[in-house]
Symmetry: C2
Subunit: 470 residues, 2 copies
């Protein structure tokens, strides 16, 4: 029995009447949906893409687990130096599967060590983080597929310098582990030259599809999570969705097709993922990258200018009922809300009976549980949206465990690949971020970027109109 | 000299050509913008609205500071039990002005205690939080203006029960402090009946506009932040924007007008706030509530059905350059990006020269700083967007300090009020969240909500079409 089910009734006319997708709209898209599966399968068969196969690489799981077992007890901190796809997946696993509020808990609470994902290059945060994590108690996991990501490179240089000063050249190697391309890129050369321990990101798996490679699995192993369980779940979902060409039998395909249709035919171009479980919020941020960067494209596969791509939004239930839900309910009908919930939370906090029992506004809560309340709020919100004819769907995890997480991550990866095909774009590239990067290189004076420095200074001259600076 | 400037050149044709707002579009909206200021001023004069006046209440500042001074040294944890507007403002101040990575730091690092904003009612998080915060070392600040917010009420009952059991009825009072309406609501009655210490949310200031009342200031004081500085900054901004009716001289009014025009005339209905400073990300989440809940409305002030409201998105620079920026650059031209940055970060982390100096992909970074890199990335991203004709603006804080934060929060509050007027909606209500709340009450069987229980069960029957559950 799968650990994840998805109820898409309220994306269709069956749930919300004419505001939902009709049977015939879904039938219309079915042939193209079938092609989406075939194209994704073909890309795999040709070796261009590999995310469906990642969970089958059990030798990788063994290796990351073996590495984690070898970490000496004094290693209290495992810091992931990576950004975007090199950080979001590992963080999603850690937040979902480690103890709540980690890394605030000490190791004594049952986890082998605490993890940090600084991600950004904010000097204030990075300085504070280095103070929290003394060299002798810390391993830094440098993660960049290209091997040259600027933020990660900067962090690496700072950390290398500090480790060398504190521990001496010899011991540095015990506090660094690299995850990068198996052959290419400068970081692989550093690995060879310095004799560093390293793991590989398969060359046919891009950053945002890499959570089930050592990018996500090494941090998971370091945190003592159930790596094999994650892969079991992902494999199970891959079996359900990789080859099934019927939109009515493939959950990833139906999800992709429904979101695509709501965007392109109904103008609902904002896709909200709203977990009702704090531990799943980082999975929503991981999804946000996957959906935004894969589908937001200027050109289609034929080279036509299209400027497509839905805007993903992460929301947190019940918190955002007091923030974004007013807009979701009453604002423009331009959104689809995907609820994400957990059936067996494994823990309930009872609201005591009788406390403030003499006040009607408090007494009714006694005897209920916080988890029960959270579920009622989710259902109440979905029902209210349903009565307004606003489309929603609900993904339910049986438990918030490794298997369900594996299924969830694979579901979204597959849905993203299929959606790319439906939108007619390449879901695996990100050409739009290069320009900003090059201009930034120009601004800091990197050799070979003189033309960008010049371009930057010309644009900057034209900006800063004093009439509009207040 | 103001601690905040905002450069809006790239919202206009002066920065991005015809994709930007023309002089005549701005002139066209100017009379309505002037009315927006007059309406907001009138609402203040009539006592209906009070956010401009909040920073002038220096007795409130004195009281919260005096309360914080009285907290005994064993109080290591200050936990804010509130949700939405009762939590986001205090958290924004804490994240921006306390030490980075607080509450991971111990008190020894110079702050009097650590703060927590659990916000949600997730049982797993709440259970973990209560374990982290022993009763004898913790004060719980219960914040709800209505006094009956369901999530906060549930948390209060659980906490009251635990405090009573651990400390006995008598000592409970020393570990609870309430922030609620001065007269109305059940929590005010509890305060009177139990003799609890309490603070007031002025009746004319709603939750999302309450950061400069004890809602935000009491947590700020408990964290040892510069409460008077926050109010000084807010006052300074209020003086700049409360009465200035010229759209060309009032930064909040120009911002509101430009965002309104980009939404309503240019179809740019997604407004992104992207701080390039980790400490300001929670301010972006605070803004997200303010903008979404104030402007997302089904009806205008005349009762016409309008369904308006831009969708605010929070992004983090440089991190989101590896996530959402691909979409911002190449996807549909439906966004305005507001960058938020800090001029003097007060701390720089140097990237050492010579480390990995033999690799071209690393050597160019030596001698630069992380903050410098962050600035170059922000500029590179803005320039790339500018070259694509995508509208942006940049808010610069001189320093990330109390005064600048006060200015920032007041700028957005004023802009929101003015935007409400331009959209023709009431920015101070949130009628759309009531329905979901009542349905949730029906689902947990709250007395008086039997009709909603019935409505809920009827809608639920119609859902769950087995064809769409996969």
């Amino acid at each position: 029995m799968p650990a994840l089910t998805i109820d898409m009734t309220c994306l269709t006319s069956s749930g919300i009447g004419e505001e939902g997708l009709s049977e015939s709209e879904l039938q219309d898209v079915a042939p193209r949906a079938a092609v989406a599966v075939q194209e994704t399968r073909k890309a795999h068969a040709e070796g261009k893409v590999g995310f469906f196969e990642a969970p089958r690489a059990r030798d990788v799981a063994s290796r990351v687990l073996e590495y984690a077992r070898r970490l000496p007890p004094e290693i209290e901190n495992f810091v992931v130096l990576g950004i975007g796809g090199s950080s979001l997946g590992g963080r999603a696993l850690y937040t979902a599967l480690a103890k709540p509020l980690d890394p605030l808990h000490a190791r004594s609470k049952g986890m082998p060590r605490r993890l940090f994902f600084p991600d950004n290059v904010d000097p204030c945060t990075f300085h504070a983080l280095l103070k929290l994590c003394p060299p002798e108690n810390t391993v830094f996991n440098v993660v960049t597929k290209s091997g040259s990501t600027v933020e990660t490179a900067a962090q690496l240089l700072i950390v290398l310098d500090r480790l060398s000063r504190a521990l001496g050249e010899q011991r540095v190697r015990k506090h660094l582990v690299v995850t990068t391309d198996p052959d290419k890129g400068p970081l692989r050369r550093v690995v060879r030259d310095m004799g560093l321990e390293s793991f590989e990101v398969p060359s046919n798996i891009g950053g945002r599809f890499s959570v089930l490679t050592p990018v996500g699995l090494l941090p998971a192993a370091a945190a003592g999570l159930d790596v094999h369980g994650i892969l079991d779940g992902a494999s199970a979902m891959a079996r359900r969705v990789a080859d099934e060409t019927s939109v009515f039998r493939n959950p990833a395909l139906l999800l992709a097709s429904a979101l695509y249709l709501h965007d392109q035919r109904r103008g609902r171009n904002i896709h909200v993922l709203m977990p009702y479980a704090d531990g799943l919020y980082d999975a929503a941020e991981w999804f946000r990258q996957l959906w935004a960067e894969s589908l937001g494209k200027a050109r289609d596969l034929k080279g036509n200018t299209v400027h497509v791509g839905p805007t993903p939004v992460a929301a947190r239930g019940a918190t955002d009922q007091h923030s974004q839900v007013q807009l979701f309910m009453e604002g423009p009908d331009d959104k689809v809300i995907l609820f994400l919930t957990v059936k067996e939370r494994g823990l309930e906090v009872q609201i005591p009976r009788g406390v403030l029992g003499e006040y009607d506004d408090f007494a009714y809560l006694g005897g209920h549980g916080l988890g029960e309340l959270l579920d009622a709020e989710r259902k109440g919100t979905q029902l209210a949206l349903t009565r307004e004819g606003r489309p929603t769907a609900t993904i339910t995890l049986e438990r918030q465990d490794a298997i369900a997480l594996g299924e969830l991550l694979m579901l979204f990866q597959a849905a993203t690949a299929f959606a790319g095909s439906l939108y007619g774009v390449d879901p695996y590239d990100q050409p739009g971020v290069e320009e900003g990067k090059r201009l930034a290189f120009g601004l800091i004076g990197r050799k070979g970027h003189e033309a960008y420095a010049e371009a930057a200074s010309q644009v900057m001259k034209a900006l800063g109109d004093p009439r509009f600076i207040l």
